[in-house]
Symmetry: C2
Subunit: 370 residues, 2 copies
């Protein structure tokens, strides 16, 4: 056992925890992906693209939830025409998702798509991919090469999928694109298995500098899917890999955006609004901490400024966390100590603490940082 | 750009994705932690230890949820006496959690604690730690050195906590224990920040072979806390670090166990029962996939055998995922293809698919693997 706590490896670790992997940058209707810019959150419509009214309704909901980029399935020519009309009504970047028929990708580019997503597992020959690239070049839009473990190209699909096969599927499509002079490429490598997703993306990032769209595909119903996505996407983001994310949940796409933002926050990549640190309580706790935390959470103001708030039950970690936060409370016997910017400023009875803390949060939100 | 997809680094990556970090093994009332055994799930009572009836009720709920090890706060001598009585009524391993007063740890050992948790930030001098170790040795129980970023020892607590300070706090307590001949040590290094939690545990694992209890402390209310915990705990487990886990949520401790098991499953460390892979649906989908997935999820049998079930909406990833699963369905236009062990066995109308799939799952569950 080596008891020296500061080994050489930490320099590398520190680097990997604090810096983003260097990638090229592409733009989707002015929204940048890659090159160290902020990590964007994507989702995909679950309603049919050809049902224009419902599609526009879901786009409005996703936009309100803070979705940055929205994808729509283009399964036939009717969908292309619907896409054209939807595109004309919306400001957000819209991505056309095409499988099987490369001609739909070309039509979608002409119909105003801001990015094309094609799948190496089903789009066909290099010649077809080059045709798509030539349309993308003409309309000045990027292409995402979207590899899924569940739909690898036939010659790779024998036996089980692996991270290596997923990267190879991407490479097979990237090379003809690059050779044809097309460079505006985003890549995704998704498996339903978080570990395989991580391994594929790590391998890819070691070999290519193209921006990565990351996600755990088919992660399942929201409760389980949020955890699976957080493990896969979070591991990659924490180690610096990933330029845009999509959480795949069997449910309302708005929930995908909510979970996506939670993952970004957990990884320190979204510092906006109020962040609560709150303890699990234990037998030491002599206040109704869970009740207080829930009520504060429900009543939090929607603000842009990043404010850390600690809601703590006792004297063990309470003072430490409350001091580190912008504002915090640490429970005693039926009361809380109120901390602001590292100092105790008041002793507040439990029944008054929610109102008191909300006032402090509003005040902090109103103060300019400059 | 290097286009070679099989670089040297993958050998290391593969290793780190598939193998667990080597640690020593300790036993908590016969339940092993470390040394490559299964990763256990812990939680902590939120009711006062001295309220014996409520404590026993919460222990029963946690046991039913599959909690492996349960911790109780020992804040005073009344709690020690209550702990003694609770210990006599319960089979599961019970851990006594002590802060500030090392004499309570000694009394808890005598009262039947299966493990002691002490905090380097508040337990006091080396001499006191040695007294605790001598009681632990006498009663044959391990000690967890539980470092929290929010309660670092005073001489380390100046300014902001860091991963290095957290490891240093653990080292300061481990060394006197090892010098006194005490080796049954588990260590935890928790921050509310997943990135700092990960960095501290990676640094520790590079330097010590003691088993690690991992968790993101004070992760918050259940929805947000599950994501924060999955990012922190999941990143570590996927890279082979972590021998036992505790999810800290501001809510019912049973929810901590549920989320803990979801994290283990997402990391491939709990292969038991039915695992659903289900797609997010999109504009291609012509079945009520979300309805089918929810109904199947609600009606899943509680089984021990590990069975993968794919519930997929369309022809893109549907056939691939359904083939890879033990049993799966891939949607067409108002119907599903039913796959079993890689082959299509039937075309089932949507209204019959839930019953049909449940029959297949029950049949698979009934078949012995031998």
């Amino acid at each position: 056992m080596n008891a020296n706590p500061m080994p050489r490896i930490m320099k590398q670790q520190k680097k990997s925890f604090s810096t983003r992997n260097e990638t090229r940058r592409v733009k989707i209707r002015g929204v940048p992906i890659g090159g160290g810019t902020r990590v964007t959150v994507q989702s995909m419509l679950s309603v049919p693209t050809s049902d224009i009214e419902r599609a526009l309704g879901q786009i409005r909901e996703l936009a309100s939830a803070g979705c940055d980029i929205i994808r729509l399935a283009i399964r036939d020519r009717d969908a292309v025409e619907a896409f054209r009309e939807i595109r004309s009504c919306v400001d957000l970047p819209l991505v056309a998702d095409i499988h099987f028929d490369h001609r739909l990708a070309i039509l979608a580019a002409e119909a105003g798509a801001d990015k094309l997503r094609i799948n190496p597992g089903n789009i066909g020959s290099d010649a077809k991919v080059r045709e798509v690239a030539s349309a993308a070049l003409e309309y000045g839009i990027p292409i995402r090469i979207g590899v899924n473990a569940g739909s690898l190209p036939e010659k790779l699909a024998r036996n089980e999928p692996t991270a290596e096969k997923m990267v190879e599927a991407a490479r097979m499509e990237i090379e003809p694109l690059l050779e044809s002079g097309f460079q505006d490429i985003v890549v995704s490598l998704k498996s339903h298995d978080p570990a395989m997703t991580i391994a594929a993306n790590v391998l890819f990032a070691e070999n290519f500098d193209l921006p990565l769209h990351i996600g755990v595909t088919e992660a399942g119903l929201p409760d389980v899917g949020a955890v699976r996505s957080a493990v896969g996407i979070g591991s990659l983001l924490i180690s610096g890999i990933g330029d845009t994310i999509r959480v795949s949940l069997t449910g309302d796409p708005v929930e995908e955006v909510v979970v996506g933002k939670r993952i970004l926050r957990a990884c320190g990549l979204l510092k906006r609004g109020v962040e609560l640190v709150s303890c699990p309580t234990c037998g030491r706790c002599r206040v109704d901490l869970i009740g207080v935390a829930n009520e504060i959470s429900r009543r939090l103001p929607q603000i842009e400024k990043y404010i850390q708030v600690a809601i703590m039950g006792c004297e063990v970690n309470g003072p430490g966390e409350a001091k580190m936060a912008d504002v915090g409370i640490a429970g005693g016997n039926g009361y809380f100590l109120l901390f602001k910017k590292g100092k105790v400023i008041e002793k507040v009875p439990q029944e008054a603490v929610v109102e008191r803390l909300l006032v402090e949060i509003e005040e902090l939100a109103a103060v300019s940082d400059d």
